[in-house]
């Protein structure tokens, strides 16, 4: 089968039904005709939006990791917790593997996701393909399910309540920055669909080759 005849076809990743890709609804998802799995979510064809969101996410995630997410005050004592400090403390208590788990899911994976997305999208916005585009893309797709910023947010809420009984616990700037990062990643999620990233890529490459104008409909399959 030639590349062209496959162009408007999609395969459901859950039931393997080969089907024609209809227009993606602005809200919600295009769903599989047989199993109702969400296949495609609408994404803007403008690269400006995801690039701006990713830059903002990078800044807020940096703030989230510099400032404490929580502070505990007890009489004259004061304890701050950043996520890196939490990882270090787990290591100091002999639970290094738990520390690694926290480090990967709350610091490294989100950082890699945001940095990787910027590495892919920012050069595209400027009209060229970043070095290592395809390998980095595959790594990003593999990482994305291990980003747990939203779970961490809930964890802080539980910790605040648990500590509220014995001392004055308060949320720090880091927590609000984590919240902002979570929100930005949610807004970015439609641009984080594998097919959307490649649609951006193809639109830019086509535009650069001067063969066709970018008509810019990003209509593709989620992975």
């Amino acid at each position: 089968m030639s590349q062209d005849s496959n162009a408007n076809m999609i395969v459901c990743h859950e039931c393997d039904l080969l089907q024609h890709a209809d227009a993606v609804p602005r809200r919600g998802s295009l769903r599989c005709a047989r199993c109702d799995a969400p296949l495609l979510r609408w994404a803007s064809d403008k690269l400006d939006v995801p690039v701006a969101l990713a830059v903002t996410a990078a800044v807020s995630f940096l703030i989230a990791n510099i400032f404490p997410v929580m502070t505990l005050e007890f009489q004259a004592l004061r304890m701050d917790a950043t996520m890196v400090a939490a990882v270090w403390q787990l290591h100091a208590q002999g639970e290094t593997l738990v520390g690694v788990l926290v480090l990967v899911t709350s610091v490294l994976a989100p950082a890699a996701l945001i940095a990787g997305l910027l590495w892919l999208l920012l050069p595209l916005r400027l009209g060229f393909r970043a070095p290592g585009f395809a390998p980095l893309f595959r790594a990003l797709m593999a990482i994305s399910s291990w980003v747990m910023v939203e779970v961490l947010m809930l964890g802080v809420v539980v910790a605040l309540v648990k500590l509220g009984h014995m001392a004055s616990a308060s949320a720090g700037i880091g927590l609000w920055a984590f919240g902002a990062t979570m929100l930005l990643l949610t807004l970015l999620s439609s641009s984080l669909q594998g097919s959307v990233i490649w649609a951006y890529h193809e639109a830019v490459m086509r535009g650069r080759d001067g063969q066709a104008d970018v008509d810019g409909k990003v209509v593709e399959v989620t992975s």
């Binding site: 039931c15 047989r34 007890f74 802080v156």
Partner: protein, 218 residues
Amino acid sequence: MNAAGDLTQSFPPESAASRGLTGCHACGQVVSVVEHDHCPRCGSAVHLRKPLSLTRCWAFLIAALILYVPANLLPIMETTSLGATQSNTIMSGIILLWNTGSWDLAVIVFVASMVVPLGKLLALVVLLISVQRKPLGAAPQLSRLYRLVELVGKWSMLDVYVVALLATLVRFDAFMSVHAGHGALAFGAVVVLTMLAAQSFDPRLMWDALQRRAQGRA
């Protein structure tokens, strides 16, 4: 690559696999596995079905089941206060939350730490049996179950984060301190293993099995 041509015969006629096609798991491109073993667009390895899906899923699932025992029996957290040490397992932590009046959070933690991991393990067993023995539900229901398993998996990490934060904040030497316990490690491992099990499971196998049974009956 010739083998792929014969292989496609065993798939249901509606499936992309029966035409030697598959959707790239990373970028969604429709790829012919007869012509390619890597996606021509993004370079991911392409397969008609995830390799060793059921074996890998069972392996992760059994490992998770085994670790589920220490995850619930070992303390995830030890609180030392004025020389007295109190150990908390996941369940006793939930009961403590309930007794101190935070019943709403107790319910949230109970769902994230008890209902979700156990539900996930059960759901994966149901899905595996549905593929390998006989369907334990209609295909759309099983599909929805699989989607739910994928969706809720990571929320079980909640308790691990809570322990990490408490251990970092509560360090008032002799007066009071919190230490992470080995239960946290076992519990974190259960979460990771069930996530890996869910990622290994190929939902397309359910539809293959259902189609095969329907054909067998006709």
